[in-house]
């Protein structure tokens, strides 16, 4: 008798939440989330809550306490560079570990991928994207562009209607995550109340603190086998302080761009000292001068602006 049987627990049985938790490997994912994502407390809390709910749901199933599958469609709001896409990517993995989605892949789309150019073009286009995302997560970046109230003949509305239908009927098949800036998303939901009510989790991504940005910078550099010298660290702190006050500051993304530019300057500096042999340390270390050369310091304006 080698048939696999589903064991249904009786009323008096107990189940081990701890054991189930370990079996799902979810701890590993959550730890990775903690390690690789700096800050973002509200986001992490919510993810932990969702993980707990799904785990408890799984245990309830053992007692045949069925409840409807929870809706996990989410909306991420926050300023640029606060980690919305990164978290969405993790979300697929987390939900797959918990057995909520089957594949856990992430399909990232924007308005262009969903809305067609002429009558009858939108529905097949949207449906194709949805089919691709099934079994995983559909991430719609800057979702508010789907709805353009100033043009009543805009096909975005059609796309929204199809999405709504799928979000309701194929809850088991895919998770939709909308992302965008807070104020624009609020306006979008005001004009699409159906969308708002179908999304259970509205998660707001806070801006990073300077300390967090520093930690992010170090993480980014470590992953590329670079490091900051002690002076460079001081200089970068100073850089962040000034940069955060300037226009178009986009959190982690600005940090990444700043680091990329310092890498350019470092390469140039190393090139300048012709003849002298370079150590591994030289190749790895960003010095203060690589950062201080930024135009942010010299003229108080952005590097990439001429």
């Amino acid at each position: 008798m080698s048939e696999a049987r589903i064991q249904i627990a009786t009323d008096t049985d107990t189940v081990d939440l701890e054991a189930e938790f370990k079996a799902s490997n979810i701890q590993e994912v959550l730890e990775k989330l903690d390690r690789e994502l700096v800050g973002l407390e509200p986001v992490k809390t919510r993810i932990r809550e969702i993980a707990a709910l799904l785990l408890v749901d799984r245990l309830r199933k053992k007692f045949e306490l069925t409840s409807e599958t929870p809706t996990l469609h989410m909306c991420f709001t926050g300023n640029p560079g606060t980690g919305k896409t990164t978290v969405a990517m993790r979300m697929g993995e987390i939900l797959r570990r918990l057995g909520y989605v089957r594949e856990g892949h992430l399909i990232t789309v924007t308005r262009d991928d969903l809305v067609g150019q002429y009558i009858g073009h939108t529905a097949p286009k949207t449906k194709e994207v949805i089919k691709k995302a099934m079994g995983g997560v559909l991430f719609i970046d800057e979702a508010y562009y789907l709805y353009k109230p100033e043009n009543e003949r805009d096909y975005g509305q059609e796309s929204i209607e199809i999405l709504l239908q799928v979000m309701e009927n194929n809850r088991d098949d895919l998770v939709v995550i909308l992302a965008g800036y807070k104020d624009k998303m609020d306006k979008f939901f005001q004009s699409n109340p159906g969308m708002r009510s179908r999304i259970a989790h509205h998660i707001d991504f806070p801006d990073y603190q300077p300390v967090e940005l520093m930690a992010i910078a170090k993480l980014m550099l470590a992953s590329q086998n670079y490091r900051l010298s002690a002076e460079a660290e001081k200089a970068f702190k100073e850089y962040l302080k000034i940069r955060m006050k300037l226009e178009h500051f986009s959190n982690a993304r600005s940090v990444r761009n700043a680091l990329d530019r310092s890498r350019l300057r470092q390469a140039n500096r190393l090139f300048g000292r012709k003849g002298k042999p370079l150590s591994k340390d030289d190749l790895m270390t960003l010095e203060a001068e690589d950062i201080l050369a930024s135009r942010v310091f010299q003229e108080g304006r952005l590097d990439d602006k001429v």
């Binding site: 194709e128 691709k132 995983g136």
Partner: protein, 144 residues
């Protein structure tokens, strides 16, 4: 002797078996997707064995990861063409193959009249045989 009781059409894979359930179809699609083949849904009401090209129901579906989307299309097709033959084809685009790897029926009409054998007398008492579907005597969309 009845050679094929019920005149069930036997084309493609699994056609001698009872009709597949949705779960079984899903498992077969999953197999094809894991191999990286593009799955498409086709239908016809002219099931002659030499009728290779059936009507496509939508485009072939590329880059899918999960069978749910394809099953959704199959069900849409069943709704639209309830009494047609519907098959699922998995196309392998890798170099040197470039042809369907799988093909199986997922829907068949309730009543299948089957095929008749037509004998044509040609020169010198020679006999030419041809297979003729009884259903195709009627115009399209009225056959089953």
């Amino acid at each position: 002797m009845m050679t094929n009781p019920g005149n069930r059409l036997t084309q493609g894979q699994f056609s001698f078996l009872p009709d597949m359930t949705d779960a079984q179809i899903t498992a077969q699609i999953k197999y094809a997707l894991n191999k990286g083949w593009a799955v498409s849904v086709e239908y016809t009401d002219d099931p002659h064995p030499r009728n290779t090209y059936w009507e496509m129901f939508g485009n072939p579906m590329f880059d899918l990861k999960d069978p749910a989307g394809i099953l959704m299309e199959i069900n849409n097709c069943r709704k639209t063409f309830a009494s047609h033959y519907i098959r699922v084809t998995a196309f392998d685009s890798s170099r040197g193959v470039e042809s369907p790897r799988m093909s199986y029926l997922v829907n068949r009409p309730k009543k299948e009249p089957g095929f008749g054998l037509v004998r044509q007398e040609s020169e010198s008492r020679m006999i030419r045989y041809t297979v003729h579907s009884y259903a195709t005597d009627k115009p399209e969309m009225e056959r089953y």
